[in-house]
């Protein structure tokens, strides 16, 4: 059980009666994310009722899969007090090399095997990160900036820079396989693809790891205070390898889903979106110094960023403002959570 959780319990026993809004927000920062998300949705729905169409909502759901998988990986690393910026490079590396491999050598590889290989490949690259972070003893930001360039440079200089437009048939079919399909008012067919299910599944697995296993406790303990955790007998090396391996696996999976969903493999894709993902996790209430956060908050943060990205145009704000808005949101959220924390 992590420090903040214990704190919560102590507080709830100490003050059984009396409900303070400030306290509630401090204990569950993701409630702010939720309020913000609802507020934005209501505002957009009033400004442009087209937002409430099922097709828009399904678009948002579809757009949040890849980012959500990334965010879960970043969250678990953030919870342990590290940070990762190389996951997009891992995803790009895995998706592109695997697509090339399947196209040229194993055209008949079943989809399940492809997904497994992608996950395993991502995990392998993640473990490289984990080894470096653990042994080099430098902030993981610097290490992963290095590996981001390493992986992406390797991909672009030695594997290829060609945009693959015709995917292996099984991957294309997976991207189109519908979970839910209906015709909207204007006659267009709206599809919620099956791959959407991977995100809630990954979220549940991540929640389970963090809340029901020893590894989860170790992760929060390391995030709270690495020195104390190691003196308590947690093996930091194992924790680091697991963390980065898990984040890498999620990134590999996200990469191959990105390919299937877009029906093309572009090696220049994905890298550059990492700040958005980190923003999502931080907006979800995870503190960048580690030890806190929830899976639910992370998912809300992802939804918030995806909604902001997709609705700006709907309410008539030019898309050039997107970065400025997201950047200001990061700073506001950070400032807000910090000042909340201080008012103990």
């Amino acid at each position: 059980m992590n420090a903040s959780r214990i704190e919560q319990l102590q507080e709830s026993t100490a003050r059984p009666a009396g409900f303070s809004l400030g306290e509630f927000i401090r204990r569950r920062p993701e409630s702010i994310t939720f309020v913000l998300l609802v507020a934005i949705c209501v505002a957009v729905a009033i400004a442009n009722p087209a937002f409430l169409q099922p097709s828009t909502l399904i678009d948002i759901g579809r757009a949040s899969v890849v980012m959500g998988l990334f965010a879960l990986g970043v969250f678990i690393i953030l919870a342990a007090g590290g940070i990762d910026v190389s996951f997009t490079a891992i995803a790009a590396f895995t998706m592109y090399s695997l697509t090339v491999l399947v196209l040229n050598h194993f055209p008949g590889m079943p989809l399940l095997v492809i997904l497994l290989v992608a996950t395993a490949g991502g995990a392998l690259l993640g473990i490289v990160n984990g080894l470096l972070v653990h042994h080099l003893k430098v902030p993981s930001l610097i290490v992963t900036i290095g590996t981001q360039y390493l992986f992406r440079g390797f991909l672009l200089s030695f594997i290829g820079t060609v945009w693959i437009m015709s995917l292996p048939p099984q991957m294309g079919a997976f991207g189109r396989l519908p979970l839910l399909q209906f015709e909207s008012a204007n006659g267009a067919v709206v599809t919620l693809p099956v791959y959407f299910l991977i995100l809630p599944a990954a979220a549940v697995v991540t929640w389970w790891i963090l809340n029901r296993t020893l590894m989860g406790r170790a992760i929060f303990a390391v995030g709270g205070n690495a020195d104390v955790a190691s003196r308590l007998g947690y093996n930091l090396r194992t924790v680091h390898l697991f963390l980065f391996g898990y984040a890498g696996a999620l990134a590999g999976l996200a990469g191959i889903i990105h390919v299937c969903a877009n029906r093309q493999a572009n090696p220049f894709d994905l890298v550059g979106t990492e700040i958005n993902v980190i923003a999502a996790v931080v907006l979800g209430g995870a503190r960048i110094t580690g030890g806190t956060g929830t899976v639910l908050g992370t998912m809300l943060g992802v939804l918030l960023i995806v909604v902001i990205n997709s609705v700006l145009v709907m309410v008539g704000i030019p898309s050039t403002w997107q970065r400025l808005v997201v950047g200001s949101f990061i700073l506001l959220a950070a400032a807000f959570f910090v000042t909340r924390q201080r008012k103990k």
């Binding site: 420090a3 690393i77 007090g81 590290g82 940070i83 653990h134 042994h135 080099l136 003893k137 430098v138 902030p139 993981s140 930001l141 610097i142 290490v143 900036i145 290095g146 590996t147 981001q148 360039y149 390493l150 992406r152 440079g153 390797f154 672009l156 200089s157 030695f158 820079t161 390391v222 995030g223 709270g224 205070n225 690495a226 020195d227 190691s230 930091l236 550059g272 700040i275 923003a279 931080v282 960048i288 110094t289 580690g290 030890g291 806190t292 050039t320 403002w321 997107q322 970065r323 400025l324 808005v325 997201v326 950047g327 200001s328 990061i330 700073l331 950070a334 400032a335 000042t339 201080r342």
Partner: protein, 341 residues
């Protein structure tokens, strides 16, 4: 500290080695005056940003400035838009250049001070804060310019900063050396330098010793921002146009230079002269790779590898890396112990 003098000697040796290697490969043309001048005029942009990163790292407590290149681009773009709406770059060249420089440096200073204030006053972690401002600065540059390249042109003074020589040395390089010298002097001879390094070594002790912690932090990031502003001027002067996404790999390279220079990412140690030498070394390597006809992607790959190698060499005795398990090490991602829950 073994690396105090050793690092400098090593960097000088690397530079000499690279020059010799270049001369050997190219048959002497690598050392021609023209090539040396063109390399020297490429160092300042990235060198200034690297000094900014060094200052932020020295402040300790996870200090880092990720917003450098974004702020440099913002300075250039904002200045170009603002100044050219008031003055014409072709008619009143001198005034245009002066106004451009003033606005760019002010933008850099203000942006850096915002970083510093957010970090010092609100206690936001430097990584998060500068990630946020990086995005906000880039976003502002996109908004101001509409996402397009903005024309600066080549008015007299600016173009001479970008292209002319003084006694055979590019003027931009001289500006870089002057800025580096000023910062080095400030670190060595003023109380600010002492405060910065001691604060980086032990933030808690610094607070109890009564250092003006907030002042030092704000000054550090403002200084780093000002350097970004100057880098923005040099970028504009050299490229005629400014755009929000210029130099996308500069973030890594600035950090790489700082790490190569032996600056400690956890704070408390860094020397400007080492940063200058390592910026030059990196430029030599980059030019060498160019001579070899390798693509930009290979260069990115090489930079990543180099960064990790230097981290390994500088942080970790290689013997221990090859035979782990001999000692229990307490390593962690960020440094949660001082700022964590």
């Amino acid at each position: 500290m073994r690396r105090t003098g050793g690092q400098l000697v090593m960097l000088v040796a690397i530079n000499c080695l690279l020059l010799a290697l270049g001369a050997a490969i190219s048959g002497g043309s690598f050392l021609s005056l023209f090539n040396l001048q063109s390399m020297a005029s490429q160092v300042p942009e990235i060198g200034l940003l690297a000094i900014g990163v060094m200052l932020a790292m020295c402040a300790g407590n996870g200090g880092i400035d990720l917003s450098g290149i974004a702020l440099a681009n913002l300075s250039g773009v904002l200045s170009a838009v603002v100044v050219s709406s008031v003055l014409s770059g072709t008619e009143d060249q001198f005034a245009f250049s002066l106004a451009f420089i003033a606005v760019a440096v002010t933008t850099g200073f203000v942006g850096g001070a915002i970083n510093g204030l957010l970090i010092a006053r609100l206690d936001i972690t430097p990584i998060l804060c500068t990630l946020g401002t990086q995005m906000a600065f880039t976003g502002l540059a996109v908004v101001v310019s509409g996402g397009k390249a903005v024309m600066v042109g080549s008015p007299a003074l600016l173009s001479s900063i970008g292209n002319d020589m003084f006694l055979g040395v590019p003027i931009s390089f001289l500006i870089f050396i002057a800025a580096a010298g000023l910062i080095a002097a400030a670190l060595k001879f003023t109380p600010y330098g002492l405060w910065l390094m001691l604060m980086g070594t032990n933030p808690k002790a610094a607070v109890f010793a009564g250092f003006p912690k907030n002042g030092v932090l704000v000054a550090t990031y403002a200084l780093s921002g000002t350097l970004s502003g100057i880098a923005g001027i040099i970028i504009a002067a050299r490229n005629v146009n400014v755009k929000f996404d210029y130099g996308s790999s500069y973030l890594l390279i600035a950090i790489l230079i700082a790490v190569m220079a032996g600056v400690k990412p956890e704070g408390g140690y860094g020397r400007v002269i080492c940063v200058v030498m390592s910026a030059i070394a990196l430029q030599l390597m980059s030019s060498l790779l160019n001579f070899g006809g390798l693509s930009n992607f290979v260069r990115d790959f090489a930079w990543g590898l180099l960064l990790l190698t230097f981290l390994a060499v500088g942080r970790y005795d290689l013997v221990g890396f090859l035979f782990p398990g001999s000692r229990q090490r307490v390593g962690s991602g960020a440094k949660p112990s001082s700022t964590g829950t």
